[in-house]
């Protein structure tokens, strides 16, 4: 195993044993191979630096590199944005550890030497974020490499496999050139992703939102700290912001839009499809600390004389978001709320059974202008997991679920 610190600054010799220059930088070409050191930059003092390709390297050891060719076979160096520079882009920079789900700072890079016919390739295996890397960085060039290796053997290691490393690059063009995708990020839980975004600088945060698909971005933004939510959304262009907000639950979307400046939120709502925009506008009328401000308008309303089978078909065909679905509201012919049915009861019922026979014992509801503490009390008293919100003529208009209650209570702490 080799470390970037040991290779950077190494003396490079050509096939005849003549000194060529010192290793200044190692480049990876992600478009070609995601973990191979494809090119090595050799500095030569006042002369133009040279580039050795991976197949021109005969051997690498701490402090020394031998080439397979003559100096004249090496190309001159031209900077290339599509190359990932180990020293400049990785060392000392922050990366996202997608398996440990946090932001860490790179101390060193570990390489594996892979011998192929006549040359040796350096492959990145791990990123060192622990003490051994730190000690190496500190002592490199002051003590001989063997002595440093002895010291670091005794230290606890902390490394991250290269597959789990997600680089942070705030320049979108460079991201494309480096073939950076958000697959690793999208596979994380939105809450973890939000925690990570909170640790980064504004530009880096923005770059992550840019690289995610709308749905993942919406989930992650919904989990962000309130102040950061508005910062992130205000920096997006209205079209992209609308695409993301559309994917959010209407109550979350309304909360977010309410905190933006009126101009910004109008601009975004103009870009949203009319139906979603209308839903959100409806919610925006309510103060944040009332039942109306807590509720979600995505609810399933069915006629009280429907059968269980009909209700299930309705849910299936209307592509109701299932994550938040806890119960179904029943209404009579005047659209007045007559009861609610828990999903669990619906699950066990017979297909022909009338849903009105499955309702909970007592009919509970609140009006949109009820204060949030009244809602909390109802949830506590009746051990609710969801509560229907009705208008003045007792028609269901929304639903408050227990997760709304939890987040509003936390916000009050």
């Amino acid at each position: 195993m080799l470390h970037a610190t040991e290779v950077l600054g190494a003396e490079a010799y050509d096939v005849a044993g003549n000194f060529v220059g010192r290793v200044k930088e190692l480049f990876i070409e992600p478009a070609d191979q995601p973990n191979r050191v494809a090119r090595v930059l050799l500095g030569r003092g006042q002369y133009r630096p040279l580039i050795a390709k991976y197949d021109q390297i005969a051997s690498v050891a701490p402090g020394k590199m031998n080439l397979t060719t003559d100096e004249s076979a090496l190309e001159l160096y031209h900077p290339n944005e599509a190359w990932l520079a180990v020293r400049k882009d990785l060392l000392d920079q922050q990366i996202i550890d997608t398996s440990g789900r946090k932001v860490v700072r790179v101390n060193d890079i570990d390489f594996n030497e892979q011998r192929t016919n006549g040359n040796v390739e350096m492959r990145v295996t791990h990123v060192d974020v622990g003490l051994p890397g730190a000690v190496r960085r500190l002592l490199q060039g002051i003590m001989p490499p063997e002595a440093i290796r002895k010291i670091q053997e005794k230290l606890p290691t902390r490394t991250i496999r290269w597959e789990f490393v997600n680089l942070i690059e705030s320049d979108p063009l460079r991201r494309v050139k480096l073939r950076m995708t958000s697959q690793k990020l999208a596979s994380m839980h939105p809450a973890d992703l939000a925690d990570i975004m909170e640790e980064l600088s504004p530009a880096e945060r923005q770059s992550i939102v840019d690289s995610l698909d709308e749905e993942t971005a919406a989930d992650a933004i919904a989990e962000l700290d309130k102040r950061l939510q508005t910062q992130v959304v205000e920096k997006l262009d209205p079209e992209k912001a609308a695409d993301i907000i559309e994917e959010m639950r209407p109550d979350e979307a309304a909360d977010l839009l309410a905190r933006l400046s009126p101009e910004a939120s109008n601009e975004i709502m103009d870009e949203m499809p009319t139906r979603e925009a209308a839903e959100v506008k409806e919610l925006l009328r309510f103060e944040a600390d009332t039942a109306g401000g807590m509720m979600n308008t995505e609810l399933v309303i069915v006629a009280e004389d429907a059968t269980r089978g009909e209700v299930v078909d309705y849910i299936r065909f209307h592509e109701v978001p299932l994550d938040q679905l806890d119960n179904v509201a029943l209404v009579n012919r005047d659209a007045v709320l007559t009861g609610t049915v828990r999903l669990a009861r619906l699950l066990l019922a017979d297909s022909e059974q009338q849903v009105s026979e499955l309702t909970a014992e007592s009919l509970l509801f609140v009006h949109p202008d009820a204060k949030d503490h009244e809602v909390f009390e109802l949830f506590d008293k009746y051990n609710l997991r969801s509560l229907t919100v009705v208008d003045r003529s007792t028609r269901p208009v929304g639903m408050i679920t227990v997760d709304d209650v939890v987040s509003h209570m936390r916000a009050r702490l």
Binding site: Q93, V129, R137, L200, A203
Partner: protein, 434 residues
């Protein structure tokens, strides 16, 4: 009044209130936006008036009366200019100062800056606990009780708190500095003369005067405060478009810090200096000497101010140091994390408090030498930090349109070089001002 009338009146008032609430919504929102940013600048500048600072100002007032007051205006400008750069960096890049040093200057530079931070801040922490011990002794409490108690209070404050709650406590501590304003009024100073000496510079070349001048400058700008200030804005997640508010926070902080210095000097000048007590050697002595001259309350408030300043700085210094070191070297940090999540952070924080407190409790500890040494370390460290700041704040790739303008750069470099020269002078010509 009948019941119905009562209800209608109540209804009317409720209606009026909601109209008022609706009309002022925009105003309240604006105020909330400003208040959300305020904090780091005010706290950092005030914590600058720590035990060592108060001592120096006390000595300046008792030795030279109102003569050194003119230094405060240029010092306010220097404080503002240097702090503003850090605030700007924090707001624009969203990264702490040690983060930036690490990313732009590599591991080794960072390591040495951090090692220096640890050493210097340990010395400073000792000084703060010495301040706690001295002020509590005025109230008749032995240091063997007051110092461990203070250490425990400081530890609990941070370990049990969140960033927001701790910041509120710190802001209240800032308000307690007003005790110096009150004791200055008790001292019945010659306000007219004080005002004149503040505006009209009166330089003289006496050796003692020069030494005190250097001490005053050296104690006002401490290197660690830049790290704390920048981290404060980063942790509050102030966005670049709120930069104006951040700048205002720094400005108010610098001015209020210097206002307190003004009142400390005025208080001691009007009492101690006016009565010929020019050879006072510590803040404790000054507080005790105040009692017969300006009354028990002035003395009490003066001692209370010292206690507040020392405790305040003793909570922030170790915290800031642990933060800076962990951030730079890549360990988990922050009081919003639990102890097992950030062992090194809490280890450093606890270690500094324990070591700082323990050194004070050693009988016959060479406190004076420790304080002197910490000031020397401060002086050596300051130039390095200031140069890092100036290099970073001029990087267009980091700061974009927020880089220093040419004229600002001239002012900033001039002030930094002046600060460096004066601080180095203070190191090599110790004033004993602590």
């Amino acid at each position: 009044m009948t019941y119905v009338e009562l209800v209608t009146t109540f209804g009317k008032w409720k209606e009026r209130w909601s109209v008022f609430a609706r009309r002022t919504r925009a105003l309240r929102r604006r105020l909330a936006v400003i208040l959300a940013v305020v904090g780091p600048g005010i706290i950092t500048s005030n914590v600058d008036n720590d035990a060592g600072g108060i001592t120096t100002y006390t000595l300046a007032g008792s030795q030279f009366g109102y003569k050194l007051l003119w230094v405060l205006i240029p010092l306010t400008i220097a404080l503002y200019v240097s702090e503003e750069m850090c605030a700007r960096m924090g707001v624009v890049t969203g990264k702490g100062l040690s983060d930036l040093i690490r990313e732009e200057f590599g591991f080794r530079s960072t390591f040495f800056v951090m090692a220096a931070a640890l050493l210097v801040d340990l010395g400073n922490t000792v000084a703060e606990f010495a301040g706690v011990a001295a002020s509590m002794e005025i109230f008749g409490v032995t240091k063997y009780i007051s110092v461990p108690l203070a250490a425990i209070v400081v530890w609990i404050l941070v370990v049990r708190g969140t960033y927001r709650s701790v910041e509120k406590i710190f802001l209240i501590a800032c308000a307690f500095y007003l005790s110096y304003v009150v004791s200055a009024f008790f001292a019945k100073p010659d306000w007219l003369l004080a005002a004149k000496e503040t505006v009209v510079p009166s330089f003289n070349l006496q050796k003692d005067y020069l030494l005190m001048f250097i001490g005053l400058v050296g104690t006002t700008i401490a290197p660690w405060q830049f790290f704390y200030l920048q981290a404060g804005f980063v942790e509050k997640r102030v966005a670049a478009k709120q930069y104006k508010h951040a700048r205002l926070d720094v400005l108010v902080g610098s001015i209020s810090c210097m206002a307190i210095v003004f009142f400390v000097i005025v208080c001691t000048a009007a009492t101690l200096h006016a009565h010929g007590m020019t050879n006072i050697s510590s803040a404790k002595e000054a507080a005790l000497a105040l009692a017969p001259l300006a009354g028990k309350w002035a003395s009490f408030l003066f001692a209370f101010g010292l206690l507040n300043a020392s405790l305040f700085a003793a909570s922030i210094l170790p915290l800031s140091t642990a933060h800076v070191i962990c951030e730079g070297l890549g360990f988990e940090a922050g009081i919003d994390r639990k102890i097992p999540e950030a062992p090194i952070f809490y280890g450093l924080y606890g270690g500094l408090i324990v070591a700082g407190g323990a050194i004070i409790l050693i009988p016959h500890a060479p406190l004076f030498k420790i304080l002197l040494l910490s000031q020397v370390a401060n002086g050596v460290w300051l130039p390095i930090v200031l140069i890092f700041i100036l290099l970073l704040v001029n990087r267009r790739d980091l700061m974009g349109e927020y880089v220093n303008s040419l004229s600002f750069n001239i002012v900033a470099w001039f002030i930094s070089i002046a600060m460096i020269v004066i601080t180095l002078l203070s190191v090599f010509a110790p004033t004993g001002a602590g």
